[in-house]
């Protein structure tokens, strides 16, 4: 019982985060970095897909 309370107390600082966004605040916020890198990649991919479309149009005109 005592051990349980001790371990609960150790978790207390995280309990506020546990309810919301627990992943983003965990592991020293490394997931924020991952989200940022993912956004950059998605943005670049969407931009390139737009160019792909325009090139396809040119190809069809030939």
């Amino acid at each position: 019982m005592r051990k349980n309370i001790a371990s609960l107390a150790a978790l207390a600082p995280f309990s506020a985060f546990a309810q919301t966004d627990n992943i983003m605040y965990s592991e020293g916020k490394i997931y924020v970095v991952i989200a940022v890198v993912a956004i950059i990649f998605i943005g670049l991919a969407v931009f390139l897909m737009g160019m792909d479309k325009r090139i396809k149009k040119l190809e069809n005109e030939k």
Partner: protein, 202 residues
Amino acid sequence: MLYSLVYGLLTSIPDLPILEQSIRNLFYHVSMWFAMVAMMGGSFGYAISFLSKEDLHKDHRSVALAQTGMLFATLGLTTGMIWAKYTWGAWWTNDPKLNGSAVTMLIYLAYFVLRNAMNDGRKRARISAVYNIFAFIMMIVFIGILPRMTDSLHPGNGGNPGFNSYDLDNRLRLVFYPAVIGWILVGTWIASLRYRLRKLES
């Protein structure tokens, strides 16, 4: 580029409160804005060179660079919002740099709207080149000068300590500068692809 992407995740970082591991975003979020300013600078240069030489190819280059700059601005803004949410606690704050970059993006958006509103190639190129010069100067004012005159949550502005004092130590610098150079090179490459595409279309 590859080096900066990989070492951005692997390199050892200074121990910072609140930011913790997310200081690594320096390599991704901040280099987006550096690349954006470089692209807009190039676009500005070609706008001036179009006005002096009246060569439509310069206009194509100017537009291609502005579009690529817009891509970097969009990426910089969205990544910044994510980073802000988990450091400052809100997606958007009334930080002068945030509002300044939003206004800058609107100004450049108006540049594209202006271009689409005109059909005559030469006239369009001339008017939009003049507007481009205005837009670039406004960008310098909004993201370079105004945030430095007031307090900002961003480092280096107002009462906030600058980059070099505590958060850009040598380990970070070793990755950050190659990242900036790499993204500028990638941006130049994308812009030249868009320029060639434009040339083929016209």
